[in-house]
Amino acid sequence: MSTIIGRNQTITDLDAEAVLTGRIPVESAPRRRPGRRRAEPFTVVSYVVVSLFGLFCLIPLWMIFAGSLTDESTLASKGYSFLPHPFSLTAYAMLFSGQSLLKGYIASLFITIVGTSLSLSCTAALAWVIARQLPGISRPLTIFSYIPMLFTGGLVPLYLLVTQVLHLTNSWFSVILPIMLAPFLIFVAVSFFRQLPEAILDSAKVDGAGEMRIFFQIVLPLSKPILAVLGLFYAVTYWNEWFMALLFISDPGKQPMQLILENLIANVANAASLPGASAAQAAAPIYQLRFAMTVLTVAPILLAYPFAQRFFVKGLTLGATKG
C-alpha cells in the first residue's frame, strides 16, 4: 500500500525533474537523421510522467471502489487495500434494501433529465436568435446575455429570490432553475450556428418555410453534434450539483445523491440511518457505506464516460478556439 503513495508522491518530483531535464542545454546531443529515431530521453520521460499522472488520477477512485467492497472491521484495523479482502457486499446490500438510494436516484435523475432538456432547448433557441445577426435584436441580446458573465448578484439575493419570492423550497426546480443557463455555453452554440451553411437556410426561406420551421426542422437536425456537447455538459453539471440542493432542499425524501453523500461527510452518524431503519444495524459499517454510496454516485458518469468523452473533448476544443 505504501508503494502506491510512494508512486503518487514521486509524480511531483518527476514533474520537476522533467522541467529540469528540459532546461538542460542539448547542444551536445549527437545529430540524428529524422525518420528512424531511437527513443529519445524526453519521450521516455514523457511516457513515465504521463503514466504516473494517469495512476495519480485513477488510484484514489480505485481505493474508494475497493474500500466499498472491504469489510468494515478490516477497513478499521488494517486500513485500505488495493484488493478488497475479505470481500464484502454488506454495504451494497444494505443500500439496495433501503429506500434512500432509490429516492436519491429518482431525485438526481429528475433534476438531470428535466434540467438538461430545459437548458438545452432554451440555450439552442436563444443562441439561434443571437446567431441570426438580426439588426436591432441580436446585438442587444448578445450584450444582455454577456453581462451576467461579468457581474452577478451573488448568493444572498438568489437565496431570497428562490425562498421568499418564488417559494421553491423543497422543489427539485429550486436546483434546476438557478443554474439553468450557462452564458458561456450559449456563446459556444452561437459560434457553431454561425458556421451553418447559409445556402440551406436561404433556400428554405425561398421555399416559404417560416422562422419556427427553419429552426426546428433544419437548424436543430443539423446541429446534433453541438447539442450533444451542450447536453452532456449540462447533464454532468446537474448530476454533480449539490450546493443548490443544500440551500433549498431539506426534505430527506427529496434529496439528490450528491446531497445524501454530503450529509454523510457532514455527519458520520447520519450514515447509520441511511439504509432504512433496522434494529439489527446498531453497528452499521459507516465508512464502507459511505464508499459504496460514492461509487453509486459516480457510477452513472463513469458508465456514460466512454461514449461521451469524445464529445467533451470536442466541446472543449470548440470553446477554447471560439469562446
Binding site: 511516457y47 441570426r132 448568493l155 444572498v156 454516485t297
Partner: protein, 316 residues
Amino acid sequence: MQRRTAVVEVRRRRQSPRANLALLLLALPGIVWFLVFAYGPMAGLVVAFKSFNVRDGIFGSPWNGLQNFKYFLESGDATRIVVNTLVLNALFLSASLLAGLILALMLNEIRGSLYRRFVQSTIFFPYFVSPIVISIILQAVLAGVSGRGGLLNNLLSVIDLPQVNWYTTPGPWPWILTIVKVWQLGGYTSVIFLAAITSISEDVYEAAALDGASRTRMALSITTPLLFPTLGVLVVLGVGRIFFGDFATIYAIVQDNGTLFPTTDVIDTYVFRSLRTVGDFGTTAAIGLFQSVVGFCFVSAAVLVQRRVDKESSIL
C-alpha cells in the same frame, strides 16, 4: 467574405416583422430566465444597503446606509478572506496551468494512439468527479477510517516521520487544495493545450529535426512558445475570475471545520456560512456586492486585455 456579407444583407432586407416576432418568441424563455435569475438578483442587491427582515421583504425593509459594509470591514475577517481568496486562486491557477502545459507537451510525445487515448481519457475524468466525492476521497487519504491516520499518515509512518492530524493543522492546506486542483483540472487543461498543439504545422518540426533538434529541444523551443497565446488567454481568464473562490470544492472539503479557516476561508465560503449560521442577510449581501464589484473590475480588465491581444476569439 464579401459574398457572405452580401447574403446577410439580402437576408436582412427580407426579414418581415412577423418573422422577427417568431424569432423573439424563440428567445423568450431564455430572456425571461436571464431577467429572473441573473438580473433579478442584481436588483436584489439593494439588500446590502438595508436592515433586512423577512416580514418587510426585500424592498420594504428599512434602509441603513453603509452600516452593513462598516460591520463587515470592522469584523476583522475582511482582510483574511480577501487574502485567502487571492492566494488560493493564484496557487490553483498557476499549478493547474503548469500541470496542463507539461502534460500536454508530454502527451504529445506519446505516439501509440490507443495508449494515448486511454491515458487522455483517464486524466480527463477527474474533471467530472463532483466536489463531494473529492471530499470523501480526501478524507480517506488524510484521515482514514475512524480517524486512523489515513493513507498519507501510513506512508509517513513507513519512513519514520511523525503522524499529522491534517484536519486540525491549517498550515499545509493551501498546498493540499492545490494538489486537489491539479488532480481535478490537470487533464482538462492539457486537453485545451493539446488542441492548440494539433494546429501547429508539422513542417516546423521537420525543419527542426533536419537541424538535429532533439525532442526536448522541440518541446521547449517550438511547442512551448507557440502555446503562449493559448496560455495567455487562460491566464487572463483565470485572473479575471480570481475574486471568485472555487466555492463548491473548498466548502465540500473544509465544511464548517473552524480550525482550517485561517488558511482556507474564502469570500464565498464566508458568505455562505454567515448566511446559514448567522442569518444576517444585510451584511452577507454587502460582502457579496463588494465581491461582485471588485470581481467585475478584474473580469472587465481581463476581457479588455484579451480583446486587445486576440480580437478573433472575442465574443463582443
